[in-house]
Amino acid sequence: MFRETYILLKEFVRTFGALTIFLIDLLILTPSVLFRRFRLVVDQVYNAGALSLVIIMVCGLFVGGVLALQGYANLTRFGAEDAVGVFAGFALIKELGPVITALLFAGRAGTSLASEIGLMKATDQLSAMEMMAVDPIRRVVMPRFLGGVIAMPLLVAIFSMVGLLGAHLVGVSLLKIDVGAFWQQMQNSLDLRDVTEGILKSIVFGFIASLLAVWEGYNSIPTAEGVSRATTRTVVTTAVAVLITDFMITAAFLRN
């Protein structure tokens, strides 16, 4: 029992160490890839970002709408339905925007990154590149990693904005909350600090989601089963890592 736990723990620490080394390797390569292979990075920004736009916007709209509904249902009890704007703004910009976008990103872009790289590995395309003296890390892994890192903060900002729009639609148009009260109270209580927290979260989550996706793909077992397992693990590990980091960043940003 203890021995198994010990082995499990040791394996976890080893994987974490390998992941850290992988991340440092990627970060060292970042400037050169960004300058020399910018075109590939742009393609991946398109893949990870532009192609995720629709799902992000639709989800954002409905999450914002649900926040307004739930906020309204509970705040009317205190006669404070004007505070729906504050409630939706805080929830979207600080928490739900970054977290839900990261989870959607893992599902929409992370899985495709992992399976793409995994399949390339399984069909020996990566080895073929090495034979031709092309570094697969630079050619395949880095652009995908950087594409995700660049796309994520933008996706989060779009999600939060569309979410606020959804909250406005439901709150103001449907539930007849006063427009002035809705926006004024939100603007009074939200500071730049709150938005900074959201942006910081989105950057960190971008690194986590992209890193885990390319890592799982690159280290997958080169079989059909291995690729499918890597894809699943991408979503699971990203979700867990994002939620844990979210807790830590929120704790760090807590006032006083």
Binding site: Y46, G49, A50, A151, L154, Q187
Partner: protein, 155 residues
């Protein structure tokens, strides 16, 4: 060639939308600080008790926000709280015998400093101190007084 153009168009649209959203969040969704960029003058006020007043709380006069609390310190000699207020320079004609009190916005709202105009001909200026102050009402003390007072009157 067609495909590259589509990629470029999509990426451009996405990046513009993202940057636009960031701009929206930082400028439209936040109120920012109304007094950050303007000229201010600094006034001090001493309170026996500031309650739960926090830096950046509004300073208001006649219900209009005219400044912010910038600092709250404890004076170890006089054993009271020194609150530094930054007031917008546009409002430079506040009588120097005005009194400052720590008030609460609503029953559960946050605390702020309310200024009540005095009748003096000289005005508050940079570095001056407000003489008349009224401490925060601590709800617990009030309830305590009420309970004790109510009990003794019945006896």
């Amino acid at each position: 060639m067609r495909k590259t153009r589509a990629v470029e168009l999509g990426t451009g649209l996405f990046a513009l939308l993202g940057i636009g959203a960031l701009f929206f969040l930082t400028t439209q969704a936040t109120g920012g600080d109304d007094f950050a960029a303007r000229q201010v003058y600094v006034v001090k006020a001493r309170f026996d008790n500031v309650g739960s007043l926090k830096p950046r709380a509004p300073v208001s006069m006649a219900g209009v926000t005219i400044g912010r609390v910038t600092r709250i310190e404890f004076d170890p000699k006089l054993l009271n709280a020194v609150v530094t207020l930054s007031i917008d320079s546009r409002y430079a004609t506040i009588p120097d015998d005005s009194d400052a009190s720590v008030l609460t916005a609503g029953l559960l709202g946050s605390q702020y400093i309310g200024l009540q105009a005095g009748g003096s001909d000289t005005y508050l200026e940079n570095g001056s101190e407000i003489m008349f102050t009224q401490s925060a009402v601590v709800l617990e003390n009030l309830i305590g007084k009420f309970l004790v007072g109510g009990g003794s009157s019945k006896d």
